[in-house]
Amino acid sequence: MRVNVTVNGEHRRADNVWEGESLLYVLRERLGLPGSKNACEQGECGSCTVYLDGVPACACLVAAGQAEGRDVVTVEGLAEGDELDPVQESFVERGAVQCGFCTPGLLVAAHDLIERVPDPSDVEIREALAGNLCRCTGYEKILDAVRDAAAKKAVR
C-alpha cells in the first residue's frame, strides 16, 4: 500500500508498504529517519516516542496505515535548523545522555511535558517520564535536564 504522512512539516510518501509494518518501521527504514529507536517494539520502553497529531505516541504501536494523512513530529523535527530545542540542549549539558538510545523518546516526552506544564514538579516529571526506560543514567541527570529545560523555556 501507499502511505502519505506529514513528517516534521514535510509531506512524505512511502510506497510498497506491507500492511503489517509499523509507523516506526516506515520512519526508520523507508523515510530515512532512524532517530526514533527500536528498543522493544512493544510499547514498553518509550524509545520510539513521536508526536502523532500533537500527542506523544509509541510509533511501534501505530500501524503504518493508521498514520495516513496525519501529522508526525520525530526527534529529528525538534531542532530548528542548527538551533537545538532547549530540551535537547539541556540533555547534552546536564549529562542526561549516555548511550543515548532512550534519548530521542525521552526528548519527545519531556518536550511534551514542558509544553503542557511549563514548571513541572519532580513528581510530575517522574510521572510523565515513567513510560520511558533508561538503562544507563539512573535518571537523576534526566531530572536535572528536564528542570533545566523548563527554566530555559520560561525565559525564552
Binding site: 532517530g35 545522555v97 537523576e140
Partner: protein, 763 residues
C-alpha cells in the same frame, strides 16, 4: 562494495576541558538530534535482512533438518545451517565450546540452528517457519548444585558438567569463634537489558573478505572468533564499531557476528541483522544465578575470625565467562574486610539453563549480596551497629586479602562507610503523604498505614581489569596535523564507547597532554591495535593509559623535530614552551603540511594465576570500593517496596570527568536496585518465562529515588593519573544495601534477591 550509506561518524565536536574537568560528550549533539548511527540504524542500498531460527527446547537432539521449503520462498536468498559454516563451527571467550549453529545437540532454549537472508524482515520471519526441524527432546539439567557433584547426570560437554572449581584457603580454615552466624543465599538471573538491540551490517568485500559494522564491547575478540568460523585470515574480516546502545557485559559474547557475515558472503550482498526484544533475551548471555552457603565467625567485640563459604554459579549451556565468574567470586568472597582465616570453594557448571556470562559487577555481585547479608546478621548477633561492624573490620592499605595479595594502594573502606553513614537522612514521614511517593505509588494502594521504614548498608570490593595472569593491554594512535591553520589531534583506538563516555575522556587526555583545543575521535575499528574489552571497569585505566602514552610519544617527536631536549618542555595552547615559560615554537608553523603520528600500547602491571589448591596468588591489578546506604518504605500488607533514598560513597582514585563519574555511579546503582527488588529472568525447566520488557521489569524513573553521591579521590600510585575503575562497584553494593534496608524494616530473613512482594507477605 562501498561503505554503508548510514555508518559510524567521526566525532569532531570539541568542547573545552581537560583531565579533571567535565566537558560535554562529543557525540551528545548527534545523539539528541537523532542523527547518531547506532548499529540498528545502519543501512546499505541493496541490503538484505537476516534472521535466526532458534531451538524451542532447552535440551534436544536434532534428528532432521530440512531447509528446502524455506529456500523456495519468494524473496529468500539464502538459508544456512551448521553444514555451511565455512571454518570451525565453534567459538568461545574462554573455552571453545559454543557452535555458531547447532549441529546435533541443542543445549539451551534459543540456541541458533539456522539462519536466512530475505528482502524484508517479515519475509524472513515467515520463511523461518518453513524450516523443518525434528527433535528428540531430552530431559534438561537445571540444578547447578547437582551438576557440580552428580557424575551420573548426562554430560553436556565432553569433559563433563564442571566448568571451573576454585578453592581458597587462608590461615587456619578450621578456626573457631565465639559468635557464629550462617545463611544460605540465592540470587536470580539478571539481564543486562541494554536498550539498543543486537544489530550489525555485514558487507561483502572485493577481496573475498567482509566488513562488519556492529555494536560490541571488544572488536578484536569478535574479529578473532568470527574469522575462525568463516575460515578467513584476520585481515579479511574487518570490524568497525557503530553506535552502541548500552552493553553492561551483554555484548562480550558473539550474537549476530558470524551469522551476518556468513549470509553476506553467501549472497554477495550486504546483510543487516537486528534482533527484536524477544530474540535479544535469547541472543545474549545473562548474569549467573548463584546459591551460596556462608558461615562467619567473630569475636565478641566484633572482629571477624573466619569466613567459610561454598558457592555455586549456574553457567548455563556454554562456558562464556563462567571461569572468570568463579575466579572473581572466590577471590572477592569475603568482601572489603580483614579476615585472618578463610575456606572458600566455588563451582561454575554447565546446565541446560540460558547461558550466563558477563554482566556489570562480574562475579562480585553474588558474594557481596551474601556476605553483606551475613554482616548484618552478625551485627545483630553482636548487638552492634551494622555500619560500626563494617568499620571495625574494614580492609585498609597494607592489608592482606584472602588470596594472600597485599593491598599496596589506598583502600579507604572505613572512610567510605563513615561518609555514607554521615550523609543526611530523609525526613521521617509525618502527617499526610503524597501517595505517589509511597509504596504502590499512584495505584493508591495505601495512604501510609502499614508502611514501615528501614535503613541498610552495602559495601563492596571489585577487581579492576583482567586478572589471573592475563596480559591486559590497549593500543592508541594519535596523529597531530594542521587543519584550518590550527594544530589538531586525532585519536584512534579500537576501544568501544558503549555509553560510558570513553570518547569524551580520549579527547580530555589528548587536550591535556598536547595542550590543544581541538581533538577529534576516529571511529573505533580493527585497523588499529587491540584495545581489549569495554568491561571490567578497565577502559579509562588501559585505553586512557594508551592515549596518554601515544600523546607523550607525539610530544617527544615534536621536541625531536625542533632539536630541543624533551626535559622541561611542554605543549601549551598550541605552542612549544620551555620550563622558564619562553615560547620555543608554534606547533602549527612547525608542522606545516606534515603530520606526526605515533602508536603506543599500555600494559598494566602483571598479575598471576591462583594456586589451584590454595587459591593463593596476586591475581588482581587493583580494587575499587564503594558503599551504599539505602532507605526504604515497605508496605507490610502488600509486600510493596519504595526505595526512598539511595546514597553512595565511592573512591575513584582520580575523577577524570567528575560529572561522568557521578553519572556512572547513579546508573550503576539503578541496576543494583533492579536486582534487589524486581529484575529476574524467570527460568523453569530450562525455559524462559518472561522474555519481554512487559514481564522483565527494569527500574523506571518512578522507581529510582533521589541519590546523593560522595566521590573520594585517593590516587592509586600504580595507575595512569591515579585512576581507579568506576563502572562496576556501585551496581554491586546497591543491591545488599536495599536488601538489608528491607530486612531492617520487616525483620524478615529474606535470603533471596530479587525480593518480591510474596517474600515479604509470606503469601
Amino acid at each position: 562494495m562501498s561503505a554503508p550509506a548510514r555508518s559510524p561518524q567521526e566525532l569532531h565536536d570539541t568542547i573545552a576541558g581537560g583531565i579533571g574537568e567535565s566537558p560535554l560528550r562529543p557525540d551528545g549533539t548527534l545523539k539528541v538530534r537523532g542523527e547518531f548511527a547506532y548499529s540498528s540504524d545502519l543501512w546499505h542500498e541493496d541490503m538484505l535482512w537476516g534472521a535466526t531460527l532458534r531451538s524451542p527446547h532447552p535440551h534436544a537432539r536434532i534428528v532432521r533438518l530440512d531447509v528446502s521449503r524455506a529456500l523456495a520462498q519468494p524473496g529468500v536468498h539464502a538459508v544456512l545451517t551448521h553444514e555451511d559454516v565455512p571454518g570451525e563451527n565453534v567459538y568461545g571467550l574462554k573455552y571453545q565450546d559454543t557452535p555458531a549453529l547447532a549441529a546435533d545437540l541443542v543445549r539451551y532454549q534459543g540456541e541458533p540452528i539456522a539462519i536466512l537472508a530475505a528482502d524484508h524482515p517479515e519475509i524472513a520471519r515467515q520463511a523461518l517457519k518453513e524450516i523443518v526441524v525434528e527433535y528428540d527432546v531430552l530431559e534438561p539439567i537445571t540444578d547447578p548444585e547437582r551438576a557440580a557433584h552428580d557424575d551420573t547426570l548426562p554430560k553436556l560437554h565432553p569433559d563433563g558438567n564442571l566448568v571451573r572449581h576454585q578453592r581458597i584457603v587462608k590461615g587456619d580454615p578450621a578456626a573457631t569463634a565465639d559468635v557464629v552466624v550462617s545463611g544460605v543465599y540465592e540470587i536470580g538471573m539478571q539481564d543486562q537489558a541494554f536498550l539498543g538491540p543486537e544489530s550489525g551490517l555485514a558487507v561483502p568485500a572485493e577481496d573475498g573478505g567482509v566488513d562488519l559494522y556492529l555494536a560490541t564491547q571488544w572488536l578484536h575478540v569478535d574479529q578473532r572468533q568470527t574469522a575462525k568460523a568463516l575460515g578467513l585470515p584476520l585481515e579479511k574480516v574487518r570490524l568497525t564499531l557503530s553506535g552502541v546502545g548500552g552493553a553492561f557485559g551483554g555484548r562480550e559474547d558473539l550474537s549476530m557476528q558470524i551469522h551476518s557475515c556468513m549470509l553476506a558472503l553467501r549472497t554477495g550482498r550486504p546483510v543487516k541483522m537486528s534482533y527484536n526484544r524477544l530474540e535479544s533475551f535469547f541472543g545474549h548471555v545473562h548474569r549467573h544465578p548463584a546459591k551460596m552457603y556462608y558461615e562467619h565467625g567473630a569475636t565478641r567485640d566484633g572482629k571477624l575470625v573466619y569466613v567459610r563459604a561454598r558457592m555455586y554459579f549456574d553457567g548455563g549451556a556454554y562456558a562464556s565467562k563462567t571461569p572468570v565468574v568463579v575466579g572473581n567470586g572466590t577471590t572477592l568472597s569475603v568482601g572489603p574486610y580483614d579476615v585472618p582465616n578463610a575456606h572458600i570453594e566455588g563451582w561454575g557448571v554447565y546446565t541446560n539453563n540460558p547461558t550466563c556470562g558477563a554482566m556489570r559487577g562480574l562475579g562480585a555481585v553474588q558474594p557481596t549480596y551474601a556476605y553483606e547479608s551475613q554482616m548484618d546478621k552478625l551485627a545483630s548477633a553482636l548487638d552492634l551497629d551494622p555500619a560500626e561492624l563494617r568499620i571495625r573490620n574494614a580492609l585498609s592499605e597494607g592489608s592482606t586479602v584472602v588470596t594472600g595479595q597485599v593491598v599496596d594502594f589506598p583502600a579507604p573502606v572505613a572512610e567510605l562507610v563513615q561518609r555514607v553513614r554521615d550523609l543526611p537522612l530523609p525526613p521521617e514521614p509525618a502527617g499526610e503523604r503524597d501517595i505517589r511517593e509511597l509504596p504502590g505509588g499512584a495505584s493508591n494502594t495505601t495512604h501510609g498505614e502499614g508502611v514501615v521504614r528501614g535503613v541498610g548498608y552495602g559495601v563492596t570490593i571489585k577487581n579492576i581489569s583482567y586478572a589471573e595472569g592475563l596480559d591486559d593491554y590497549s593500543t592508541a594512535r594519535v596523529r597531530l596535523e594542521v587543519l584550518g591553520g590550527e594544530a589538531v589531534a586525532m585519536v584512534h583506538t579500537a576501544a568501544a564507547e558503549v555509553g560510558q563516555g570513553l570518547v569524551t575522556l580520549q579527547q580530555q587526555i589528548a587536550r591535556t597532554e598536547l595542550g590543544l583545543t581541538r581533538v577529534s575521535v576516529h571511529p573505533a575499528d580493527t585497523s588499529v591495535g587491540d584495545a581489549g574489552s569495554s568491561s571490567a571497569s578497565r577502559q579509562t585505566y588501559v585505553t586512557g593509559g594508551a592515549v596518554r602514552n601515544a600523546c607523550r610519544a607525539v610530544a617527544e617527536a615534536v621536541y625531536a623535530r625542533l632539536g630541543v631536549p624533551a626535559e622541561g618542555m611542554s605543549l601549551v595552547g598550541g605552542k612549544v614552551v620551555a620550563a622558564d615559560g619562553e615560547v620555543v615554537a608554534d606547533l602549527a608553523e612547525l608542522l606545516g603540511d606534515t603530520a606526526i603520528e605515533e602508536t603506543r600500547e599500555f600494559h598494566h602491571r602483571p598479575t598471576y594465576p591462583l594456586d589451584p589448591e590454595t587459591g593463593q596468588g596476586d591475581a588482581h591489578v587493583q580494587y575499587g570500593f564503594s558503599a551504599h546506604r539505602a532507605v526504604v518504605d515497605v508496605d507490610l500488607d502488600l509486600g510493596l517496596v519504595k526505595v526512598v533514598q539511595l546514597d553512595c560513597a565511592q573512591d575513584v582514585g582520580k575523577a577524570m570527568n567528575p560529572d561522568a563519574v557521578v553519572a556512572q555511579i547513579q546508573g550503576g546503582s539503578a541496576q543494583g536496585l533492579g536486582l534487589a527488588v524486581m529484575e529476574e529472568i524467570l527460568v523453569k525447566d530450562g525455559k524462559v518465562r518472561n522474555p519481554s520488557f512487559t514481564d522483565y521489569l527494569i527500574p523506571t524513573i518512578l522507581d529510582m529515588p533521589p541519590m546523593r553521591v560522595d566521590v573520594l579521590e585517593r590516587p592509586d600510585p600504580h595507575a595512569p593519573y591515579g585512576v581507579r575503575g568506576v563502572g562496576e562497584p556501585p551496581t554491586i553494593s546497591a543491591t545488599p544495601a536495599i536488601a538489608n534496608a528491607i530486612r531492617a524494616a520487616t525483620g524478615l530473613e529474606l535470603p533471596r534477591v530479587p525480593i518480591r512482594p510474596e517474600h515479604i507477605t509470606g503469601v
